[in-house]
């Protein structure tokens, strides 16, 4: 398998991840609405779902550019985050933090790093669009957390943070069953070397996510 074919498979995985994220943001919008959250947050969550569907199409265009005819992966039929048998407000807060504060904050940091090394036009264009959206998606998470914290205790999330971080990092690592070995450089196709992705994630967790959560008394256990 050549470099373009390997890169195509990673973008195909990202395509599926974007579809999953679209479903999760749509569920978040529904839970925010049911919880009586401000219209701004509901609208933003709905917009995020639409963004993610657009991102999936951008990923598909890259797959086609790199390895035309590579079939999509089957999406998760019903992706879910966190406890389901609880109030819409708790489901919404859990999903906001897992999706926005954790996953999209990491994604933003990774895309900034990715952006610097891409030279393929189709990839560069998609990365620019997705990055700009991911900033808004991460902010939605932090906005929902801020809003919830003004109305009640949010520290019940603390025991779940390590699990959220592991899930987000696993998704990044699982993007290719044959992760690029250190000798295979797919940077120009928008795929970071594993040690660089690891470094970016660690810095983002340490300097962005953990202190951001700590502002609200959520102390993430070291996982």
């Amino acid at each position: 398998m050549d470099a373009e074919q390997r890169a195509a498979r990673i973008w195909r995985f990202r395509e599926r991840t974007e579809h999953d994220a679209a479903a999760l943001f749509a569920q978040l919008a529904a839970d925010l609405l049911a919880a009586g959250a401000p219209g701004t947050l509901v609208e933003l969550a709905s917009r995020c779902a639409a963004d993610e569907r657009r991102h999936a199409a951008l990923c598909r265009a890259i797959v086609d550019d790199l390895d035309r005819g590579l079939a999509p992966l089957a999406p998760d039929p019903q992706p879910r985050l966190g406890p389901q048998h609880t109030t819409p407000a708790h489901r919404a807060l859990y999903a906001s933090v897992a999706l926005g504060c954790v996953t999209e904050s990491l994604s933003t940091a990774l895309l900034i790093e990715i952006r610097g090394g891409v030279d393929r036009p189709s990839v560069r264009e998609a990365v620019d669009i997705i990055l700009e959206d991911e900033i808004r998606h991460a902010r939605l998470g932090w906005a929902c957390l801020e809003h919830a914290a003004t109305r009640g205790d949010v520290t019940w999330l603390a025991p779940s943070i390590a699990e959220m971080l592991h899930a987000a990092l696993d998704t990044e690592r699982l993007s290719d069953p044959d992760l690029p070995e250190e000798g295979v450089d797919l940077t120009r196709f928008g795929i970071l070397r594993p040690h660089i992705a690891e470094r970016v994630c660690r810095a983002t967790i340490e300097h962005v996510i953990v202190p951001g959560l700590a502002r609200h008394g959520i102390r993430a256990a070291r996982g």
């Binding site: 701004t40 904050s105 700009e132 902010r139 957390l145 801020e146 951001g212 502002r215």
Partner: protein
């Protein structure tokens, strides 16, 4: 390597600014620069922006026809107008 300090301001503080201002009344959607600021060399606060942005808030065309950051805007993460 991106700057985690900037990322904290843009994501965490920018999002918090949005969330703190939310009420059940309608508000306009956030712009590319909501809540994110950076101290400039002259001591004033400049808004961080992912340039060129999608709504024209970050960049403008100067007299020479070049696209440049608007007054009070700083393009972040190596982006440019």
């Amino acid at each position: 390597m991106n700057d985690p300090g900037k990322l904290f301001r843009v994501l965490v503080l920018g999002g918090a600014f949005l969330g703190a201002g939310c009420t059940n009344s309608e508000r306009p959607a956030p712009s590319a620069t909501d809540g994110a600021t950076s101290a400039d060399d002259g001591g004033g606060a400049r808004e961080l922006c992912f340039c060129p942005g999608d709504d024209g808030v970050c960049c403008e065309t100067n007299a020479s026809g070049a696209s440049v950051p608007r007054a009070g805007i700083e393009c972040c993460w190596s982006t440019s107008c």
